[in-house]
Point group: C2
Chain length 383, copies 2
């Protein structure tokens, strides 16, 4: 059936109709006063989602572009960077730092776990000469569905004196992330996640401590240069021709985010993800992240039952029920599947997902009491 | 009147309805087989527009992003780069090279002129030790409406031995540019121009000579890295989450380009731009680029008549006739206005533009025989 596909992957995420239709309008000139007004509103509302007073730069780029923008404005060759790695996206920070000539040290935990603050504390304490300049970390690790305790980790990094550079790509607009209150130095995010628009834009905010370090950067990348980009933000403009239609879409989406309210959005995500976890357990499947306290509220990784493969589950969900869930990445490929409940996702969507997952598993021969997943979800949602 | 705005700026350019509507569809997963098929088609058709057998990388970024991608994969600090500058976008190459630590030499001509091949020849001949590694140039200088003789310039650069790095942002899909036949080493372009889609994507192709130099690049940028990006092109994928909806739009636009045929598109652009030039003269205005042989066929820069200002002309065109034309940039601000006839532009649009320009000038008190602009245009189009 055409046009029925429903995405429940970690991104792109579903986009509201009003956003899609506004995006489909004829592009307007990016140097027009009309567009400047849209940018003014977008820049103000991004600060609200980032929970910051710092300017938020909008890059026409993937989320990885904003990650590159973060480090390529801070790192000089030979700088020491510590990367806290709990999955592929944590690893990406380390790769970017290495590409910039940094000396990269890594704290890595097995997939499905979060960074233990104690481990970080020990590492930072052992750095008596304060050689570590930057610590990179991930709030919500998309590859495993694990959330780090960013607040605690960042406070330790601040105490040490290094800069904290945080990937908020699949967390901003979905889970609590208070840039200023928590003292995050650099925070990046992407458009196709909590922001409810298609991919193509990414965002970066830096505080004054980070700006001081940026000034010492010998060769910040031209396209991603913070300074030229921030100058344009302040002028309600962009340094280069932006993805005009995506910014128009972002304006509409941010209006929706403000109307619902960030706190309500975070509660909605929590409720849906926790209800989904109850349902998964009731169906007799294992969650990849058993520990509720570190489980993501936007991505839920699930192990397939014995004798049923991840590709079969994904194929049946797609072909029979038009739902797309993600496979695991790299070493987790075919070991887990990942259900995204990120952005424009409602309780109804959770019911749809669980019901369809029950249907697919039933068809594939998994033995369980039909209806118990949906029942557990509804009980959780209605309690 | 709402929704009546018609863009006649050098970009964003008008977008066909079918492209806008395909772009407005719900995003699909960027790792799906459905999307891989779209990418396969897009990558093949980009080769057609680039007139090359080389792989064409698609970046989610502005045109400037692709320019950055070009040099940040070739330049090591201290390398000698020669930039041929005929306007702001030529200057941008020099700035990017400088940001990468290159030693930049510039041949600059006054705005409105093209690079004289003789000047380049002398410069290259004087480089007896072959120290110049890269020469950057612009095919169509958006800021002035001048086109360089890329074929001749590139052949000289090839003879010298340096790499030619060409900005085809406002030329590809609008004027003749034969990457392989002319021996261009690196060629970049952007989506919101001849490609008839909104801004947000940019393109880069490099030949084997350039790839050899890329291998010697010590620290290619992570996001823009040619190698990781080309690997994905070959796999009908993208290295990072791309602007999915813009790529869907690009597929539709490229289908239209193939259907019309590149040669026909180039003829259409020539006809419209030359007709527009006849009309401008008939109205009694001066063309900024008098020399027809170097005049752009996608952007026409015009001087205002005495006693009428550029802002007044732009304001009247916008407010009374819903047409947006561009002001001059930097030192040419308020000295010229620029009419874009790039991409999805028809003979009818040219008639609209000339008729509206006559109406605006008439209203502002310019003395000329009303109707003579439209008459000259029609005569040219119908001859």
């Amino acid at each position: 059936m055409k046009d029925k596909t429903f995405l429940m992957i970690p991104g792109p995420t579903p986009v509201p109709e009003s956003v899609l239709l506004d995006m489909a309008k004829h592009p307007i000139g990016h140097r027009s006063s009309e567009f400047a007004k849209i940018l003014e509103s977008v820049y103000a509302d991004l600060k609200y989602v980032f929970q910051t007073k710092n300017d938020v730069i909008v890059y026409t780029a993937s989320g990885t572009g904003a990650m590159d923008a973060a480090l390529s404005n801070l790192v000089n060759p030979g700088d020491k960077v510590l990367s806290l790695v709990i999955g592929n996206f944590g690893q990406r920070w380390a790769k970017i730092a290495a590409a910039l000539g940094a000396e990269v040290d890594i704290i890595e935990v097995e997939p499905g776990k979060a960074i233990d603050p104690k481990t970080l504390k020990e590492k930072l304490d052992s750095d008596v000469n304060k050689e570590i300049k930057i610590v990179t970390l991930t709030q919500n690790e998309t590859s495993t569905g694990v959330t780090n305790d960013v607040k605690t980790l960042v406070s330790m990094i601040r105490e040490h004196g290094a800069l904290s550079v945080v990937d908020g790509v699949t967390s901003l607009g979905a889970m609590t992330c208070k840039m200023d209150e928590w003292g995050i130095d650099v925070l990046v995010s992407g458009s196709q996640k909590g922001f409810m628009i298609p991919p193509g834009l990414s965002f970066l905010a830096a505080n004054e401590r980070a700006w001081e370090v940026q000034k010492q950067c010998k060769r910040p990348d031209f396209y991603f240069n913070w300074e030229t980009n921030r100058k344009s933000v302040i002028a309600n403009s962009t340094a280069f021709t932006p993805a005009v239609n995506l910014i128009v879409a972002l304006k509409t989406a941010l209006d929706m985010i403000k109307e619902e309210g960030l706190d309500n959005i975070i509660i909605r995500h929590e409720k849906i993800a926790k209800g989904l976890r109850e349902a998964i357990r009731a169906i007799g499947l294992k969650l990849f992240v058993e520990n509720d306290s570190i489980a993501s509220t936007s991505i839920t990784a699930v192990l397939p039952p014995d004798n049923i493969t991840v590709p079969d589950i994904r194929k049946t969900l797609k072909e029979d029920y038009d739902i797309v869930v993600a496979n695991g990445q790299n070493q987790l490929k075919d070991k887990i599947f990942r259900i995204g409940t990120l952005g424009f996702v409602s309780q109804r969507d959770a019911i749809t997902a669980v019901g369809s997952l029950e249907a697919a598993l039933h068809k594939l021969g998994h033995k369980f009491e039909l209806g118990q997943g949906v029942a557990a979800l509804i009980k959780y949602l209605n309690k």
